[in-house]
Subunit: 356 residues, 2 copies
């Protein structure tokens, strides 16, 4: 099964790691949010991309989920002693990445190419793609005004009240090279348990991505006499492959018992006037997903979610250990296999009905 | 006694430290070579400036003389693991300085202003000035072609054979603000035991500096009826102050027993066809200096040096310990006091002769 995962930071990276341990490297492509990217100390910082890569490389700090294990903070101490900005904590081992990436970007390299080379250097098997090579900085509209994402997130510790988001220049951005092909060749897109507003939202806002992910036109559409899967010349996969506009999408809820494991997702839902819940996340993605995975503690919401026309998997979604990551990935993949075979079965039935 | 010291890296920094411990902070200005400066990892690196500042701040690595004490190398390890350049070793604590300086330079700050602020942050008393706010990169002409200084010095470990030096754009550079005032207000300029070719040479090549340091016109000059010291309106010091063109200059030999304590000075003399010796250094500076300080092991060269018309001090010049630095600084300052009083005495004699 060829899988594309959409991911933000820590939570997303954990499921990506589980998927990477469950699939051959060639069968997993990870599209990572770059809306959090910013410049600090004159360096390009890509927090989500780095969290995903460090996690896949086995270099991540197991305590925080972000940054490097066995980290030291001597550069930060020096910068601070000289009166420089120290609100965003960059560790020493981590800084090597930012320095080398920034140097290569200044030489004209593309973020995606640099990420590919770094993944090779770190021995990462799956393909990791930033959502775009174009900068799409997230701005958070708050009661304190419009804040660049990291100022909201780190400097202001998510305290300002959120009223909306701007993905700046997103209309001019292009999906990263290889992303639409990856969708076309995939059997499944997994939306990882990342913040729907500021981690997954920016990815989905890049022009062309929603079109590649939304369900295909109805079967009775005159232009598609065959039920899905619709194969095309780019498809080397056989029956699993679905052209853009037909890929199955499954989301995993980042909200458990009304709260986010990490980060401001639940707070954002509340401030935007939506009660945070697994159901709220399912509604958020309803136009896009065929399946939704959420935690046992929220099992009472299953009926409401199924009433949205979405298939459900209720399971343990908290990933405290590496084993948890593999188990959730396994559950998600098994759920999707069932969805696909169900769908093929129902499509075959539908087709045979139409043929009569 | 108000003193200006001209310094390059490790050797120069040690004597500067000795002078700083022997003089009130307001009485010492240090002019540092910036010809070694270069860009690495996208950051502005100023090796000599940093060595002088770290030494004065008590932060220098006592083993190497350059870089920071208690240093770690985690950034370098990360950069190296990603295939980045690792021939120039930048430590973690050290990097904080390069990052913050580069950030401020990119914002339009002047190197001298940034250096002043950093010296304040580090609690450094004396004034430390880069020789110029304009870049004057040293190029080394070698049998392998023209090499940027750090490529010759660090990457190629001084192995190529030297045939000359280019201080690029020096003719367009300006002395750093405050330098000429410091000369004007000083009783003494000390050329520290730094490499005459590539540490002191670039400082002296900045337009206006040689003119400020070379001995004044002869006493019979019609325009200066008075013997030196010639006071002017900028002079607040009284008899010690000498206008540009009249300051006393004393050099300390970096060559001891035909060798440099550190660095390629002796090798450069040889490759340029000059036998390295204290005498060779005295000849190098003969147009500029009134006094020369060199090591006891070279005492046999004293007569030859005095025959150049230069006053001499033979003493222990190797600075292995902090005590050595203070002792040498004390010896140099005492020697200069004697020179000044001798000079004033001989000038008074000369004047009274002229008056008759």
């Amino acid at each position: 099964m060829k899988v594309v995962a959409l991911a933000g930071g820590v939570g997303g990276a954990k499921l990506v790691d589980g998927l990477a341990q469950s699939l051959p490297p060639d069968d997993l492509t990870v599209i990572v949010n770059t809306g959090d990217d910013f410049e600090h100390w004159g360096l390009k910082i890509c927090p989500d991309l780095d969290t995903v890569c460090y996690t896949l490389a086995g270099l991540a700090n197991p305590e925080t989920g972000w940054g490097r294990a066995d980290e030291t903070w001597h550069v930060l101490e020096s910068v601070s002693a000289l009166g420089g900005e120290d609100w965003f904590r960059l560790g020493d081992r981590d800084l090597g990445l930012h320095l080398e990436r920034t140097r290569r970007l200044r030489e004209g390299g593309l973020l995606s190419e640099i990420t590919r080379d770094f993944c090779n250097a770190w021995g990462i098997g799956p393909t990791v793609l930033p959502m775009s090579d174009d900068p799409v900085p997230t701005l958070v509209a708050t009661d304190e005004g419009l804040l660049p994402f990291q100022e909201y997130f780190v400097k202001r510790k998510c305290q300002p009240r959120v009223s909306g988001f701007i993905f700046e220049d997103v209309e001019r951005s292009k999906p990263v090279s290889g992303m639409l092909d990856a969708f076309r060749e995939s059997d499944l897109v997994v939306i990882c348990p990342s913040n729907p507003w500021v981690s997954i939202g920016p990815i989905l806002a890049v022009p062309g991505i929603m079109a590649a992910l939304t369900p295909p036109p109805p079967l009775q559409d005159a232009l598609s006499p065959l039920p899905i899967p619709i194969l095309d010349e780019f498809d080397e996969l056989g029956e699993g492959g679905v052209q853009g506009g037909g890929v199955r999408v499954v989301a995993v809820s980042p909200i458990i018992s009304g709260k986010a494991i990490k980060g401001p997702a639940a707070k954002m839902y509340t401030e935007l006037g939506i009660q945070p819940s697994a159901l709220a996340v399912a509604r958020h993605y309803r136009e896009l997903i065929t399946g939704f995975v959420f935690d046992r503690v929220d099992a009472d919401q299953e009926t409401a979610i199924r009433e949205l026309g979405i298939q459900t998997l209720v399971t343990d979604t908290i990933m405290n250990t590496p084993h948890d990551r593999r188990r959730l990935a396994h559950d998600v993949l098994q759920f999707c296999e069932r969805l696909i075979s169900d769908k093929i079965e129902s499509e075959m039935k539908e087709r045979s009905r139409n043929d009569r």
